[in-house]
């Protein structure tokens, strides 16, 4: 039993480290920094200036929202790449042929992306608060850290789903990219969800990050556990559902590929 647990833990950590190192497709610190911060940083500035132009009363809302979205770079794009690149790099057949249990293989891909995403938002948020002269005096820091960690974890569910789509479609990256950009609209990053047309609001409620970002904003405004507890529980549940969907679809795709022998050739 203990030997089995050690084996699973080792497999999990081994997968986590090697998939992060080799499949996240960055070769130098420069390309790592530009791919992680380039588009998110400049799109945040872009939306900020649009906000100023149209007369948004509090443009800091846009900056904070985009900073809180930063874990999605790892959670969605990073994990999608680490799953999808198996096929592109020609390692898919070996992975599918391996007798190793699938759960640590699959879930291991998220560990370093969660840590990386959490570290990113933990560094970027204080900088944003400093620039906009927002005080942390009234903020429950432990609760804020919990919100940021939760955002870094729940975003991985979408990454798993998008990664699986990348396995079955050569245009997987386009779907990932489109979904990632739709988050600018749907989850309250640039404006409150209440500003969305009525038909989009249920979609927003069904997505991870919506409640987490709102909760983090509320914590930054000084509220405590009792006020954001419901939002955080909702975020945990939605996040788990998405991770489960990702895992199940990966299994289904794997089984289908065994039947048709087509996964590595599409």
């Amino acid at each position: 039993m203990i030997r089995r647990m050690v084996y699973l833990a080792r497999l999990y950590l081994f997968q986590a480290w090697f998939s992060y190192r080799s499949l996240y497709a960055w070769s130098t610190p420069f390309s790592y920094l530009t791919s992680k911060f380039g588009f998110p940083f400049f799109s945040m500035i872009f939306f900020y200036f649009i906000g100023r132009f149209v007369g948004i009363a509090d443009p800091a809302y846009i900056i904070i929202g985009n900073v809180l979205l930063m874990p999605s770079i790892n959670g969605i794009y990073g994990i999608s790449m680490t799953v999808g690149n198996e096929r592109q790099f020609g390692a898919m057949s070996y992975l599918l042929g391996s007798p190793a249990p699938r759960a640590p293989l699959f879930l291991g891909r998220s560990l370093f992306h969660v840590l990386d995403g959490f570290l990113t938002v933990s560094v970027a948020l204080p900088i944003a608060l400093l620039v906009f002269k927002m005080s942390l005096a009234e903020v429950n820091l432990f609760l804020l850290v919990f919100c940021l960690l939760l955002l870094s974890i729940t975003t991985t569910g979408i990454g798993f789903i998008m990664g699986t789509i990348s396995l079955i479609s050569r245009d997987g990256w386009m779907f990932t990219n489109t979904f990632g950009q739709l988050l600018f609209i749907l989850i309250g990053v640039n404006f409150p969800v209440a500003q969305l047309p009525a038909f989009l609001q249920p979609i927003s409620s069904a997505l991870p990050l919506t409640r987490g970002i709102l909760a983090a904003r509320m914590v930054l405004a000084g509220v405590g556990w009792t006020d954001v507890g419901g939002l955080l529980i909702g975020e945990v549940l939605i996040g788990m559902v998405y991770i489960l969907i990702g895992y199940v679809t990966f299994h289904l795709v794997e089984r289908a590929s065994m039947n048709t022998g087509s996964l590595d050739s599409i």
Binding site: T34, F42, F46, I50, G55, M174
Partner: protein, 262 residues
């Protein structure tokens, strides 16, 4: 001349098929601009405006589609050639890389123009945008200068990809800064003064300002003509720079033989 036309038709035919058959291009030309346009509209709504500024929010998003399309097609073409081993063949062939890349970029820009056309159609059909006050001649002239500016910048940037693989990352990074500096979805006056000065070196910024002025009814008189002339001058400067850089890159890669390994 006949051989050039044949080359142009073949190159553009291949490029056109690649663009049409790629979902990635669909995302670049239509989906991403539509998403940015939606963000602009919803921000405008959140600010309490009764309707968004269509010239900035919708037409500006079409402009974004053109620029993003250019960045990720003209430069990625070189990357694809490098990955598939055809870059050496193109560089070694009697037809210069400059000519091949110039033709490819031209088709990429014309494909990107469809993004702007769709944006204008959306403004007219969905948001009832009226051409009643538009200075049509000025708008068309400015649009031609935007296309020229994009082409000159595309040809210039493509050299970086042939020169070094790392520079591709830098070129990727230019997508959003250019959208900010050229004011694709907001007026340049929103930017801090020092950024406005930086943006002055890009021909697209001046032509785009000219097009917006013309769309808002400014006659083809001195202020508008000056903007268009600045755009033309800067485009020519970029083209000359591209030619000079092109020679340098060709010398470098032939002397060092590092085309595939860099």
């Amino acid at each position: 001349m006949g051989s050039f036309i044949r080359l142009a038709i073949r190159q553009m035919d291949v490029q056109f098929r690649m663009r049409v058959l790629s979902l990635w291009s669909l995302g670049l030309y239509y989906i991403q601009p539509a998403i940015f346009s939606a963000v602009g509209m919803l921000l405008s709504r959140a600010a309490g405006n009764s309707s968004p500024d269509l010239v900035y929010t919708v037409v500006g998003a079409g402009m974004m589609g053109m620029w993003s399309g250019l960045v990720f097609t003209s430069t990625y073409d070189i990357r694809t050639d490098r990955r598939e081993g055809t870059l050496e063949i193109i560089v070694g062939s009697p037809t210069s890389l400059r000519r091949v890349e110039g033709l490819r970029t031209l088709l990429n820009i014309l494909a990107g123009l469809s993004s702007l056309v769709v944006a204008v159609l959306a403004a007219v059909l969905i948001f009832d945008y009226s051409f009643a006050n538009v200075n049509i001649a000025g708008t068309i002239l400015a649009l031609l200068l935007i296309l020229l500016g994009l082409w000159c910048m595309g040809v210039f940037l493509a050299n970086f990809l042939a020169w070094s693989r790392v520079s591709g990352t830098v070129v990727d990074l230019m997508e959003m800064p250019m959208a900010i500096l050229c004011g694709f979805m907001f007026p340049i006056s929103v930017l801090p003064g020092w950024l406005q000065k930086v943006s002055g070196i890009f021909p697209i910024r001046w032509a785009l300002e000219g097009m917006r002025d013309a769309m808002n009814g400014t006659p083809l008189a001195q202020p508008l003509i000056i903007k268009l002339l600045i755009s033309l001058g800067l485009s020519i400067a970029f083209l000359l720079l591209a030619r000079w850089f092109d020679g340098k890159v060709h010398d470098h890669i032939r002397v060092t033989g590092e085309l595939h390994s860099i």
